[in-house]
Each structure stands twice: as C-alpha cells, then as structure tokens.
C-alpha cells in the first residue's frame, strides 16, 4: 500500500541551513548535507530544500549543494526557491535533485509549468502554493505570503494540475508557525477536487496534527521544519504513532 510521507524542510541560505537547528549529535548543524543524511537515517521519506539566498552566486551555490546532497543521501529530495526557468531546473536535475518546486514564477508565468512537465516529466514538477483566507476566501499569496494576488487557491490549484504539475505543496499562511495544526478543510478540498498528490505544510505542532492532516485533510504527505529541527517531534516516533492509528507509513 502506498504510504503517507513525512517530509522535513530545510531552509537554505548561501549553502547553509538557516532556521536554528538543535541537533547535539551533529558536528555541524548548519551543514545541510549532514542534516539531510541524519533525517534520511531517522525515517524521513523525502526532503525539501528551500533556498532563500539572494546573492549573485546563488544558482551555483545551490547547484553545488544539490550535488553534495545527491552524493550522500539515499532518499528523494525536492529543491525550491527562486527557480524561474527551464535552464534552472535542468541544472538542478542534472546535479541529482529528484523534483523542483516552483512558486511565484509559476504565478507570474504559468506556461513555465507546461514547459517543465513537457521537458522533464510532471513527476519532477512540484508547484508550491502559499495562501491565506481573506474574507473567508483562500487567496494565493507571493513572496513567502507577503504579496496577495487575486487568484483563488482552488482555481489556481486546478490550473496547475491541468498544466502538468505532478504534485502540489500547499502552505497555509494562516497556520504556518502557529503549531496549531494544518489547514485540513482546505487540504481535503484540494485532495478531493484534484487527482495529483497534495503535500500539507504549515501548522505542525504535535503528532496529532499529522494524524489529523492524513485523516481529515486527506493529505498525501506532510511537511514541517521547526518541530523536526528542534526535536519536538522525532520522525520514527511520529511514524509509529501514525501506524498505531492505521495510517500507512514506511517504518
């Protein structure tokens, strides 16, 4: 049976992890490769690297990082952040990334989704969508949720599926950082109305939140950062609890 996936997300700046991490057993908690290998060993099903650098050299630094991760890590990983062209994606996939995630560039240039899925296959195209509710309606936001757009979450999600996205990573800006649980109503609607996998993001605080997003939110995968980085949740413990709730996981 296909299992639900647990995905730690690592924020990267200039080739280093940025969100404070609290791993006493790591020699260098800022080294994304070492952290990634540890997560892989501890039961993570996939990893996401989100690059937030803004330097001139960012493309090369990111490509180097991807190459190093690919060399050491034996589980799949996705790379996102600032990817805006077919050429960007070509380099990252050649360095060993399994998937890329595009966000603002897809909104600004939806045709990019078609181009990427035609050239590389939809299986490696993840479209990340950040949204929050405005007057009860889910509106897509850009630049890490700072800039609102007129796009409706569900309409945009359907459009990206039609254009060839293989997966959607939905972050609720209303839930992100709250540790109060994922946006399960919106997630369930996405999962029911679309026929591609949906990754839940934003709001993870405890094990129950993961159970809820897989059961009520019908999510295919759940992503989190700080609860894993600060060891508030151990992935193997989380998966054991999911299994005890009859949620299929790889143990």
């Amino acid at each position: 049976m296909l299992t639900k996936r647990i995905i730690p997300c690592l924020d990267i700046k200039n080739g280093r992890t940025v969100k404070g991490v609290n791993f006493i057993d790591l020699r260098d908690a800022g080294d994304p490769v070492e952290l990634a290998a540890l997560y892989a060993k501890n039961g993570a099903d996939e990893l996401v690297f989100l690059d937030i650098s803004a330097t001139e050299e960012r493309r090369k630094t990111l490509a180097d990082l991807v190459l190093h991760v690919s060399e050491k890590v034996n589980i799949p990983f996705t790379v996102g952040g600032g990817i805006s062209s077919v050429e960007d994606v070509d380099i990252l996939l050649k360095c060993g990334a399994d998937k890329v995630s595009i966000n603002s560039s897809a909104v600004k240039n939806p045709e990019l989704i078609n181009k990427l899925s035609a050239k590389f296959g939809s299986q490696c195209v993840v479209v990340a969508i950040d949204a929050k509710q405005i007057d009860g309606n889910w509106k897509v936001h850009l630049v890490g949720g700072k800039v609102p757009t007129e796009l409706d979450l569900f309409e945009w999600a359907k459009e990206v599926e039609k254009r060839g996205a293989g997966e959607i990573l939905f972050t609720s800006m209303d839930h992100d950082g709250t540790k109060n649980g994922f946006a399960n109503k919106a997630l369930a609607k996405l999962s029911t109305e679309l026929n591609i996998p949906i990754i839940a993001s934003g709001g993870a605080g405890n094990n129950q939140h993961f159970i809820d997003t897989f059961v009520e939110g019908k999510s295919d995968a759940a992503l989190a950062a700080s609860v894993f980085h600060f060891k508030e949740i151990e992935i193997n413990d989380l998966k054991a609890e999911l299994k005890a709730h009859d949620i299929p996981v790889r143990l």
Partner: protein
C-alpha cells in the same frame, strides 16, 4: 561528468580490488537523473561510467539503463543513438530503472511508442480511480529473484510513475496501486525495476548491491 572515465581507470590501483574491478556502465542517453544512480553505486564502494557508446556498453560487466521523463521522446533518443538495437542484444546483466524498465517492454501507452520488446508486456496508464502520478513508498510482494536476496517481503521502495507494467510471465515483484502490477521484471539477463533503488534507502542499496554481485 568528465571525471567518470578517469575514475573507472583508476579502479585497478584501489585497495578494494574485487568489488571495484567490475566495470559498470550507466547508459547516458539524455533521459533521466543519472547522477543519483552514479552516486548510489559510489556509496556501495564501486564506480560507474556514464556512456552512450555502444562498444563501451557492450564491453561492460554490468549495464544500468535508467530513465525519467516521457516514454516516446526517450525512445526517440534511443533510436537516434542506435541504442535501441544495442540494448536487446546485450549478454551481461542489465538493470532497467523506472522508465528504463518500461522501455524494455513491448509498447507504452505513453506517447503510444514501441519499446525494446525484451519483456513481453504493454505499459498502461493508471486509471483515474487513484492519484496519478503515484509518488512515494509502496510495498513489494511475491519477490522472485536473486535480485531481492536479503530484502524482505513487503519491503518499501520509492516509486514515481503514471504508467505501469501489468502482471505477466516475467513479473518478479508485485506492487498494488489501483491494481496489482509488476514492480520488477526479469527475462534471462535482463532485469527491470519500476522503483528507484538509488532513492530507496537501505533496501534500495541492498538491491543495487545484489545486481552488482550477479
């Protein structure tokens, strides 16, 4: 990667001679994430050479035939390089991975393309009853090959695909998604796996090691 040839030539001077002496070629025809496979072989203490040269491929002890992307365009690339004629004639163990495995079948519904005809089965698309692509870790059962030595029944492997090979005489592993299908195939010296051993954690490493030891 230009360092690959040099790496392969250097192997004989290495300490771990027995394992590293094997020449492993990954067919490089411009379709797929071959870097990950090369690194996975490297993590096993061996080295692989990337090549699309028929003579180098024919001379290898082990051949890995990867593939990610769309079937008909990948098949066109094989035809353009003449590899469509070379691969079915190989005598050494050959491992097709993901789209590589699908191209070793008779036909694929994806782009309605003819395949290499090694496995006598047609590749079909998953129905709309399930999410397509299937992305993630799923179990393998009914394991029937030395390729799976040391791998337990119901072991998890990582899969990403929208098309599948139905069950047939060549099936050596079964996975269930939508229906029961072939997650691995074998005929004579040809092996094919739908999952990505290079991304399937320890279980995938055991499988690759088994293949290298065939």
């Amino acid at each position: 990667m230009s360092d690959t040839l040099a790496n392969t030539n250097n192997l004989k001077s290495s300490d771990n001679r027995e394992k590293k002496d094997i020449s492993i070629v990954i067919i490089d025809y411009g379709a797929g994430n071959i870097q990950s496979i090369k690194f996975a072989i490297q993590r096993l203490g061996a080295q692989a050479l990337l090549s699309n040269d028929a003579e180098i491929i024919k001379a290898a002890d082990k051949v890995i035939f990867p593939g990610v992307g769309e079937a008909s365009s990948a098949m066109e690339k094989l035809i353009a390089t003449g590899l469509d004629k070379v691969i079915p004639q190989l005598k050494q163990p050959v491992l097709g991975i993901c789209l590589g495995m699908q191209l070793m079948c008779n036909y694929s519904q994806e782009g309605h393309t003819k395949g290499l005809g090694i496995f006598d089965v047609d590749v079909l698309k998953f129905s709309n009853k399930v999410k397509v692509p299937q992305i993630g870790w799923n179990t393998l059962t009914n394991l029937k090959s030395e390729l799976f030595s040391g791998i337990k029944n119901e072991e998890y492997m990582y899969l990403v695909h929208s098309y599948y090979a139905p069950l047939c005489d060549d099936t050596i592993a079964i996975t269930n998604y939508d229906i029961e299908y072939s997650s691995a195939l074998k005929k004579d010296n040809f092996y094919g796996v739908q999952f990505h051993p290079e991304k399937s954690s320890t279980a995938g490493e055991i499988l690759l090691k088994n293949f290298l030891e065939l």
